[in-house]
Amino acid sequence: MSTDTFERPDDMAAPASPDDPFLVVENLTVKFPTHDGLVQAVTDLSYTVERGKTLGIVGESGSGKSVSSMAVLGLHDPKHTRLSGSIRVGGVEVIGASEDRMRKIRGNDIAMIFQDALTALHPFYTIGDQISEGYRIHHKVSKGEAKKRAIEMLDRVGIPQANRRVDDYPHQFSGGMRQRAMIAMALVNDPQLLLADEPTTALDVTVQAQILDLLQDLQREFNSAVIIITHDLGVVAELADTTMVMYGGRAVEYGATREILTHPEMPYSWGLMGSVPDVTGDADARLIPIPGNPPSLLNPPEGCAFHPRCPHVDKVPGDLCRTTLPDLVPGDRGENHLKRCHLANPGEIYTEEVLPEIAPDLIDPTTGEMIPELAAVDPDEL
């Protein structure tokens, strides 16, 4: 694969086929040259999202979640970024597209909701100005009409007295309202693809639930494709149809959300599960953190990037984990559940070793088996 920025004339974009998923990402690689060397932020990432569907991208900080979604919007500075692979939005190639073309796509076809609405909104402009600016860029309307649209959007996302609050500045809004305003701003042009980058991380739990509900309602209303980036498995469970787990800039597990959550096949995913507190569980139960630190993207480990932290390295014969990068391939659970791991029998290890430790209440104490409803999930059905 070439490491250089992919130059592709705009008119060579593949024609949109109606069956094609709205967003197709193929072999996306993002590298940042720095003084210390080349940072491999995202390597060989492929996924698709269809209209009306939601993809959840999960992973810890620095796993490449945000970088990959910024690439979809073409927001990386081309001078300091090396992009390769292909990103097609509604059939239009994004990588290598001209700035002019990208600008017409940004905020119009694809919109982004950022994590911390306080810093992501301009402190010196009113909420209304910021929403209507986005509308006027892509629609030839007067200021008055744009403002009317802004009020309408604020009203839609549940801001009370929208016609008055439209003239407020971001600091006059509460955290939840700011995030609603941010969503209103993203949806003002009815985008077909919505990238939500940790939309609820900065919010308290009750507000989180409201925002997630709102996102779901809006998705149904506009039938847009949604990518939700998060490190909160709860958010994924709530919203996502499919889930991708990322580690060290690569996808390590990819499949239907329910399938990933009930039958994870990759030790890093197990680790993520183990780090989730259980509300109904024993208050004294300890969370099980993943030992070690995220890998350096400047100098990634040889072989599987997770091997220095993986407690199951010994179960793989030879030095495979340390020397050879596993492919992202279907495991025991069928074609639609991809995993990047050398373990031969991940399902067994999960039920026998991992589950009893991280979620003892999911194991039937008499039989030592996983509770039947969970075990019965058919991977192909999802």
Binding site: E99, K104, R106, G107, A111, M112, T119, H122, P123, H171
Partner: protein
């Protein structure tokens, strides 16, 4: 809002009063009775008898304590005085009375009113020039940070600030005005009479003032812009599909300009109090030149006191205005 302004106004007045006391008392104490002795000796050899000296000292108030002298002087600013003694004569000095200038025999206020327009025209033109050029260059440098142009700008700032300003001004005058005659005349032509002529005479001083000062503004703006450009809301603007230039000059500059304006307000006030080198070299008959001439012997004390006091007034006013302006520039700051 009004409460804040009243409080700030009171503290500003206090600063001005303190400055006036310092200036007055320091000169009064420092020079002692030498001004009186000066006038006395000018009467001619043998004519300065102790009695004569005593009478001059009495006329000038040296027999009274400094506090009374200050009170009289300060009162004169508001109600005027009618018996100001200078060199054997008493003068009428209507309010605002800042004393009589020894150089001209006019009231200081009368002279000030004549000199001030030149300084204002110089300051407004020069400051506008360095603010506009500086902010523009700084923004562009931030946009293309790391590029050759950016490094050139940062480097030139260093060079310009390490060359004495009067040298730049002098060389500009010698070459551009004397030798090449691109700007044949410099100086102040009354703007009310012939604005075109004012502009052509002022062009070179404006240019020199603008170009030498713009580098520090460019650098400051650049720093602010680089910081602002890494803010999340800049990324949000790009993600909305806003044009790069609009992101730069609307979203980023709007935030980066606030501290620049603060510095500018104070700088501008100092300019209004007179730019000595510029006025001297380009023979502009303004406040700076006036103050400089007043320093030659015999020192024209009233002029010095007045220019110092006015500088204090202008800096304090500018400070107040900047603070008020701040609340308009940054909606998060409410000065209630």
């Amino acid at each position: 809002m009004s409460g804040f302004i009243v409080r700030r106004l009171l503290s500003s007045v206090l600063v001005v009063i303190l400055t006036s006391i310092f200036v007055f008392v320091l000169f009064f104490k420092g020079l002692g009775d030498s001004p009186a002795r000066n006038y006395c000796e000018k009467l001619g050899p043998g004519k300065c008898t102790p009695a004569k000296l005593a009478s001059i000292e009495k006329q000038m108030g040296f027999d009274k304590p400094v506090s009374q002298n200050y009170a009289q002087w300060a009162k004169g600013i508001f109600v005027g005085r009618d018996n100001v003694y200078v060199d054997g004569k008493t003068y009428e000095c209507p309010a605002p009375c800042f004393g009589i200038s020894i150089m001209t025999g006019n009231t200081v206020w009368h002279d000030f009113k004549q000199k001030f327009p030149a300084t204002v025209v110089l300051a407004v033109g020069g400051a506008t020039m360095y603010l506009v050029i500086g902010v523009l260059l700084g923004s562009l440098a931030a946009r293309w940070r790391g590029s050759t142009a950016d490094r050139l700008l940062v480097g030139s700032t260093l060079i310009v600030s390490s060359i004495p300003y009067y040298l730049v001004a002098l060389l500009a005058w010698i070459y551009l005005s004397l030798q090449l005659k691109i700007f044949p005349n410099t100086g102040y032509y009354p703007i009310t009479e012939n604005p075109a002529k004012t502009i052509s005479w002022m062009a070179l001083p404006w240019l020199v003032l603008g170009l030498t000062n713009c580098t520090s503004y460019a650098r400051f703006t650049r720093g602010q812009m680089v910081e602002t450009l890494s803010e999340d809301y800049i990324r949000t603007a790009s993600a909305k599909g806003v044009r790069t230039n609009r992101v730069l000059f609307k979203h980023a500059l709007r935030a980066a300009i606030v501290p620049v304006i603060t510095i500018f307000g104070l700088d501008f006030a100092t300019l209004l109090a007179g730019t000595i080198f510029t006025e001297r070299i380009f023979s502009i008959d303004g406040v700076g030149n006036w103050g400089l001439t007043a320093l030659s012997t015999p020192i024209d004390l009233n002029v010095i006191e007045t220019t110092t006091l006015l500088l204090a007034v202008m800096v304090v006013t500018a400070n107040l205005l900047v603070d008020i302006l701040y609340s308009f520039l940054d909606p998060r700051v409410s000065i209630a």
